[in-house]
Symmetry: C2
Subunit: 216 residues, 2 copies
DNA sequence: CAGCATCCGCTTTGATACTG
DNA sequence: CAGTATCAAAGCGGATGCTG
């Protein structure tokens, strides 16, 4: 990206992360921690492979991404965020929150990967009763399973499965998100096709975090 | 901008605000509230005029910017953010914070407009003793004067002058910002060329706000 | 197969000139 | 003042080819 050449923090940041696809690549790495080129490509439907390679080079040069050549017998390259890269989480959080209203309904032309909901869920949800024993909620709403786990009061999410989750939700992402953020009643979601298994009290334990009111 | 077509809040947001120049236009409108096409162009050195016109059209269509035809005798068009547009302030705040390290030093090729510092100062500073009578700090570090004012505990900034400020700072933006954010001692800044007039105790009243620690 | 690089047509951007 | 018009250059998207 050509620099704006403006002595301004916003403009300087956009010089680095303002390119097309760049922040979506960071999104992938925030969710997956360490992953291969192919994982990134699969999580970024629509990207041209040469662009992904270009962006990874630029991000590495900017100190946001580090590439690690896994030793044999794995023999593959792994990409991960540096600490400077992980500092982009609040940036992506805010942009994603601003874009929240746009995901109220889903267009048929939109692609979806289930792990995309992991980041907003982790950032939005909190454990209402952190003293009680940890719980896990298993989600099935796309290509890969996602787990929500409480641990030390924090809510974590990751790609994967767990043998005995307290709750399992299966269905369209709109319904899964709606139920977890409290925007859709469980009964309404089940009527709309969501499958629910487990203890419904557990579901109430994980609730959207109250946002700080903006100043001014 | 071509849509990413991803069912993801971040991607949907970037469909709208991810174009080159778009967030810088929002920056201008956050600082200036209502302004003319020419004001925007002056605040965006480097932008091609057709691009500014294009972006304003797109932003209007997206419900972020509203255009208002001022009645005669003014007879000019004024642009301002809608409420949805003002909701981008936290987005720009976070991106600007992330870009903060990049403005540690200034390249000679960088352009500068003094009002660019108004937004980060407003977002970073707080009034340590909000009960005391309001104060004003006058800044001269570029093309236009900027005022910092305390009011009801909040810190506000605007383009303009005030007759009798408690403090006046004149000099390079690095020095002005450094002193206000506490990164440079006043004595060091004066040695480096900053002119200071007024009550140095007043300067201590306005301090950087403590950021909430990130979760996780 | 993973991890790119190359090529090509198309779109976006940038610089400048011009207009009501 | 507030844009539109024009055109060259850069960037992007899609397909394909190469290499270990």
């Amino acid at each position: 990206m050509r620099s704006y050449r403006q002595y301004c923090g916003l403009a300087k940041a956009l010089d680095v992360i303002g390119d097309r696809w760049t922040l979506l690549i960071v999104r992938e790495l925030l969710i997956r921690d360490r992953c291969r080129y192919t994982d990134l490509r699969d999580g970024l439907p629509g990207i041209a492979t040469n662009l992904l390679a270009d962006r990874l080079r630029e991000l590495e040069r900017a100190g946001i991404v580090a590439r690690e050549d896994a030793p044999p017998p794995i023999a593959t390259t792994l990409y991960q965020l540096t600490s400077r890269g992980r500092e982009l989480e609040p940036v992506i959080d805010q942009i994603g929150r601003w874009g929240g209203p746009f995901v109220a309904e889903r267009s048929k032309k939109d692609t979806f990967r289930s792990h995309w909901i992991a980041l907003p869920l982790k950032l939005h949800l909190k454990d209402r009763t952190p003293r009680r024993p940890p719980i896990a909620i298993q989600l099935h709403c796309g290509d890969e399973p996602v787990v929500i786990e409480t641990r030390d009061g924090a809510v974590r999410t990751r790609i994967g499965s767990i043998p005995d989750p307290e709750v399992t939700l299966t269905g369209a992402p709109q319904l899964v998100i709606g139920v977890l953020t409290g925007k859709i009643e469980l009964a309404a979601a089940r009527a709309a096709g969501l499958k629910f298994e487990g203890d419904r009290e557990v579901l109430r334990r994980v609730v959207p975090e109250r946002r700080r009111e903006p100043r001014d």
